[in-house]
Every structure is written in structure tokens, then in C-alpha cells.
Subunit: 102 residues, 5 copies
């Protein structure tokens, strides 16, 4: 899965019927920058269906491909990217490189 | 899914039988350019089957892989990229970086 | 799908039994170069099973992944890239950037 | 599959129900550096479900896509990356470029 | 599929049960270098299950994704990359850019 940040949202009115009612999030894949001990953006953009109530600025767990259809809310949808979890913390080499703040 | 712009179309006469009657669009994946607050092209080209009547210049929602076969019009087709929605607007960090104009 | 050019062919004698009798083409993914109004090569190489009688120099439609198995000739084959159509023409922004010549 | 190094771990409390109880590892894809005869990091980050008790610093075997759901512990999970083996050694051109030490 | 060269092998003792007895090869994707009329390495590394007895130095045919599970030896395995054929020769623009020697 990708580790990604929710950066925004999209609106699409004219779409395949089964997509109605699904919130579309704009997400950016991130990576761990070991040198600086932080998460670093990739500059890339993906569109994901939200299934856990993720909000802008949160880091999320992002499976792609057919696995994106294996949540209760995305079965049989024509989607290949979905948010399945909100990340609380990331630890690398015994250091905390990210911790969610409320 | 990818956020992509419809840039053109293709014609293919000699093809697998099940592909007959499906409109082929040329699309370019885009990303959000946070610095300039706009959408930016990738220069890459993909071919997608249209299922929502998307036209040249419009931004669309583009699932790939097996998920591309989960629309009423693409079931069992040998296609891995399909347009499932036309994007009306994209919001990032409380700014509108794209809004469709008629 | 990718838009690709058939650049050559491969021979493989020692292979999985179900692959016998399938023509293997060497293909190069292309993209549209909007500035020069032409198709431009990527330099990448892929191997595809031919299902439409495509010849060297022709531009073809190239689905990947599980969708490559959804043609009459590739069902249940261990292949992830297949030629499903020969491209006649490509139009971008009301210009013809490619037209097949006989 | 990718050859990857386990670099850390993630915690996610708010997630899809079926993900509960699965350990999430942060992994970095590696490649063989033939010139220096060693494994070299890519700088990329992926999140994988652990199925073999892999620990930080170990090199692992990492299938992606639908294949990630074909282990006893990941059936029907919305995950596309899983650790299926811990690598003991890597040999290239009759040289050992990696050997696990206890 | 990718055209790849077998560059080495891996040993993994602690792994998912169904993986036992399958030979793991280290492979490097290659591309055709049209300018020099030869095959050129990518520097990338993948791990593949061997199904045809491929040896170090040989060029092979490498499907990825779910298609990797469609050989008699890899059904239901958690693998996404498999060797399904050994390449005898590659021809590009009426030139032979590779021919296997015994």
C-alpha cells in the first residue's frame, strides 16, 4: 500500500451510476525521508474513495488495484484506489517520524 | 484513480470483436501543482474507453486495471483504463484549483 | 491502455505449454508530443501477445494486467500484455498527429 | 516480487474492520548494485502486511497486487502489498551480495 | 510482459508455506537499445519464480500481476512475477539484437 496525505477533494456529478454517494479525496503519495526523519511528498496526485472518514491533512493507508474493492463500501465499484485507514504514527529505526495531532 | 484530461481520440478498425462500438479517448494524467494552485500535465498518454460522454478538454476520473471492467459498458472487455466520471471541481487546502466552465 | 509501436518480434522455444503458438511482439510505448504534433517513443520495451495480426511499424492498442486475458485467444494464458487493435489515426486538439498509411 | 528492506512500522487505529490485528510494516524496495556488489535502497516507501514475523532491518520478499491476498492471513483483505518471506541470502554472478546475520 | 535477464538467485527459509520448493530468481528488466542494436539493462531488480528451468545469464519472458499465477506451477501462490519462457532471439527492424548461444 501507499502511505499518502489527503490534500483535497473532488466533485463529479456526471459519472457511472454506482459511484453516486462516494466521497472522492485527492491524495498525494508520501515517503519516509530517513535523512531528515520526516515524511516527504512525491508531488504526484491520485483520486481515492474514502471509507473511513479521513479529512484534509491526515495521512492514510492506500491500497490500489483489485484490493481497493475489498471493503464493505467499495464492492463492485469501478475504483482502484481507496482509503482504508488513518495513520496515527510512523516509526523508523526507533524514531517517530510522524505522529498525528488532534 | 488518476485525474486526467481528455486530449483527443483514436480510431481503430482492425481490433478484437468485443471492442466494436466503444469510443476510444486519448487522455493525459494530471497532478495538482500546489505552488501555482492549478492542475499540471504529466506529458504521458493513455488510451481510455469512454462511458460517460466525456469531451475533449474535460478533466475525468480514470480507474485502471481490473476495476476498469466494473462499469455496465465495459464488462468483460479487454480494457484496463476507463473514464467513469467528469470532474466538476477540485479543491485543495480550501482553494479551488479547477472548476469546469460550460 | 498504452498506445505502442510494434518494433520487432521474439522467439522462445522453451516455455510454459499454454504459450505455444502465440506470436510474441516487441512493442514500445509511445506518447503524444503536443508541441511537435507527433507521436514520440518512450525507449521502453514490452513483450505482447498479438491477437490481431499487427506488423512491425504499426501502432497498436495495448491493455495490460488481467484485462490482457479477456480476448478469445488469450484466455487463461500467463500473459499481462496483449495487442487488441491496430490504430488507424490519432487526433489531438483537432489536429491529426498520426494516420496509418498502407 | 520486490526485494525490500523492513525499515519501520505504522500504527492505524481508525481503519476498515477486516484490517484489525494485522501488523503494518514500512518497507523500502531495494535493488542489486552490481558494480559495488551490494543491495541499494530506492528511497521509496511502501506499507506491507506482515505474515512471517519479519523484523526491522531484515530483507523480505514482497508480492504486490491481487497476489498479496493469497496467503492464509490476508485472504479478502483490502491490501495489495504483503511480506511472504524473509531473505537469507542473495547471490549474483557467483558472488554473495547479501547474507543475513543473526 | 517484461523482457528480463536472470542475474542471480535468492534463498528464503522462513516463508509462507505454499512458497516451499519454488526456485526464486533475481531478474533485471531489459530494453532494446535501438541505436546500438543490443539489449540494455535497467538497473532494476525483481524476484521471480522460475517455471522453465532458466539459468543465470539467460533472457526470459516475465509476466507480472495475476497472470503470474496462470502457470501449472504457480496456481494460488502469493507471487506476482514468474518466468514463463526462455528467449532464443530478438529481432528489431530486420536486425537480430539478441541470439542465445549455448
Amino acid at each position: 500500500m501507499l502511505l499518502a496525505k489527503v490534500t483535497g477533494s473532488l466533485v463529479s456529478t456526471q459519472k457511472v451510476g454506482s459511484m453516486t454517494g462516494h466521497k472522492l479525496l485527492l491524495v498525494e503519495p508520501f515517503r519516509v525521508d530517513l535523512e531528515h526523519g520526516c515524511l516527504a511528498g512525491s508531488g504526484r496526485s491520485l483520486v481515492a474513495v474514502d471509507t473511513v472518514g479521513a479529512g484534509e491533512g491526515e495521512y492514510v493507508l492506500l491500497p490500489q488495484g483489485s484490493s481497493a474493492r475489498l471493503t464493505p463500501g467499495t464492492k463492485n465499484l469501478p475504483v482502484d484506489t481507496v482509503v482504508v485507514g488513518i495513520i496515527d504514527s510512523v516509526h523508523v529505526e526507533h524514531r517517530c517520524v510522524y505522529e498525528k495531532t488532534d
